[in-house]
Amino acid sequence: MISRRKFFKSLALGGIAATVLQPPLKSVLAQMGTDDKVATNIKDVEKYPRNKYSMPGRFPGKVVQVYNDKCIADNKFNGSEIDKMVNDGLLKLTGETDINKAWQGFVLPTEIIGLKVNPIAGVALSTSVEIVTAVIRQLENAGIPRKNIVIWDRRSADLNDAGFTEGKFPGIKIAATEIKDKAGSYYNKEGKLYGEEMIDKEWYYWADVDGKYDAETLPYMVNEGKFSYFSSICTKQVDKIINIPVMKNAGSSVTLCLKNLAFGSITNTGRLHQKLWSETCAEVCAFPPLRDKVVLNIVDGVKGCFNGGPEAKPEFITEYKTVLIGTDPVAVDRIGYEIILKKRIEENIQKADTPKGRKFLGLAQDLKLGVADLEKIKLTRINQITITD
């Protein structure tokens, strides 16, 4: 057996002077994007007037950061501490002293409330069952019946893998756009994708980038072409949305409130990652089904990652022991960005800030979805620290 060092040495001694970068570059050439401006239908949003809930919502530029040293230990979440984090954070955000009143400022008992989670990385790095349980408990106390609560994301299989099952959440609807049936198929008896029945073609994000997929990929994209349709879950099924993403990086950027909403609410996203990642994160959220319905953002940073995201790479998972709360998704994302950046620099993943990583925040601010400038954000910190004798 040889070590990696010995292995490299053996290669080096093996007469490799002439071996320089074998050329798989051709395939890269075909995939690489450019920074040329790509046309989208973002101007369409101007046709729709804003309402009082429209982003950035009731508290523009305001973020509450709650740290709790007991919320996780030995990789086990402490539900009651997490509940306390959400409770105290929401009171601080709203200035209320009664938690029920705080919730009632955002949602009504007659409304259908969608909890937009991020379950793509299994139990290891998805929105935790514990934080969603806390939100549901508090909503119920505030008068929202369980039958009016929907936990949703793109894929039924992901929701299931991350623990969002009817067994764990009796009486709560679990909804997905891309549905996999019990037989493991994404197609119904007529050979039509279940996902096609879940999209609303009245609402779409058009971008001049063509999506083409093979048969194995199509169930995860629902449709090809230049249109990305909104899920009917957000356009029709729910009246209000509470966004509950996970504290994760995406390269030198982050995948928090805006990314969770944008890429989680539309179809045909594969085409958007390469050329339009930042634009999609910002612009999709400017369309009324999201802009006018998302009333609150709660970032689950009890456990998160600082590299390797959005995948769950164990060596990059960390316990931030933090929850961020705000109505302004741009401001919340900016604070989350700073937390993750600090950790990345501490861990020597990167040396300094890279402005490209927060390009989407600037775009979102330009679209008046919130505040991206750090100096204009009002951050309040709550430290729930246990003091022992």
């Binding site: 057996m1 040889i2 070590s3 990696r4 060092r5 292995f7 490299f8 040495k9 290669l11 080096a12 001694l13 490799i16 002077a17 002439a18 071996t19 320089v20 970068l21 074998q22 050329p23 798989p24 570059l25 395939s27 890269v28 050439l29 995939q31 690489m32 994007g33 450019t34 920074d35 990789n75 793509i120 990385a121 997929y213 093979d214 194995e216 990929t217 169930p219 995860y220 994209m221 390269g251 030198s252 990314k259 890429f263 996203t269 594969g270 990652h273 390469q274 590299n307 390797g308 959005p310 995948e311 769950a312 164990p314 060596e315 990059f316 990345r344 990167q350 040396k351 890279t354 490209k356």
Partner: protein
């Protein structure tokens, strides 16, 4: 469990030769390991990787992804998740491994580049990148994950790739565990994020890079290959230099960062970068200069 391990190894050894002979995709089967139950087995081809890791798929696709086998197994109540990525070539597999390896322990029992941490074993064997995650993080689970990784590496039957001779230079050799193979813009984002702007106008490129520790600072040295001469020129421009006509050394200092370049040919350079004033920079620069001129 300790008692069980020798049997597992024996079973693994026995079965590996047969599976290799079949030339199939490397995988673990219930007959490989006593008491192992395969809870999940899913293949993902091409873009269907988005169905598994959504946006996380992009970096694999950019590097050149062919196929993934996801297996979840249970061995005496120890749950392990195994991802076996088949990439287009060994460089791509090493590239993915290199950007996702962090604070590693190397294990000599694996005959290839590997990264062993409490919860994960990563290894790269030829064009296969292997990740085995255990949920418990204890020694027993770690040992089991390692034994499974050993078997999978054997099953790949792959020759290991070779890297540029530059990195065998004495001055860089001891930093070989830091070597990354970076390909495409997402590769830069994940591998050397501070270089993102340098490549923003460059369409096609790949490079090997290593980081030399110099006190509290580091010196990055890379061998970069561009898809075209035009791309090389754009890189020179991003550094703030005119494209060189020969292989002599040129450098700039911008915002406290020194960037130096040697042009090897029409689409290839050696690049050095560090914070201005970093101790040891001149030594590495001289070593690279000698390499270029040899």
């Amino acid at each position: 469990m300790k008692k069980l391990l020798p049997y597992i190894f024996a079973a693994l050894l026995f079965n590996s030769a047969a599976l290799l002979a079949q030339g199939g995709f490397p995988e673990l089967t219930a007959s490989d390991v006593q008491g192992m139950e395969v809870l999940r087995k899913d293949y993902f081809d091409g873009g269907s990787l988005w169905g598994y890791i959504d946006g996380g798929a992009d970096v694999y696709l950019e590097y050149g992804f062919k196929k993934l086998l996801v297996q979840e197994v249970d061995i005496n109540n120890i749950n392990l998740k195994i991802d076996i990525y088949e990439m287009n070539d060994a460089e791509s597999a090493f590239g993915i491994f290199s950007i996702f390896s962090f604070k590693c322990n190397n294990n000599d029992e694996l005959p290839c580049a590997n990264c062993v941490t409490r919860y994960q074993v990563q290894a790269v064997s030829g064009r296969y990148y292997i990740s085995i995650v255990n949920q418990r993080g204890d020694k027993e689970s770690g040992r089991l994950a390692l034994s499974l990784a050993q078997e999978l590496v054997k099953k790949t039957g792959e020759q290991q790739f070779q890297y540029p001779s530059l990195f065998a230079r004495e001055e860089l050799f001891k930093y070989q565990k830091n070597i990354k193979f970076v390909k495409g813009k997402l590769g830069v984002q994940n591998g050397v994020p501070e270089w993102e702007d340098l490549f923003s106008e460059v369409k096609s490129f790949s490079f090997y890079v290593t980081s030399v520790r110099a006190g509290k600072e580091s010196i990055n040295a890379a061998q970069i290959k561009f898809g075209s001469e035009d791309d090389l020129e754009k890189f020179y421009s991003a550094i703030g230099l005119k494209t060189a006509s020969d292989n002599s050394y040129h450098q700039t200092i911008k915002e406290g960062v020194v960037c130096g370049l040697w042009k090897l040919n029409a689409n290839e350079v050696i690049f050095i970068e560090a914070k201005a004033g970093t101790s040891g920079f001149n030594r590495i620069q001289k070593a690279l200069d000698n390499y270029v001129k040899e």
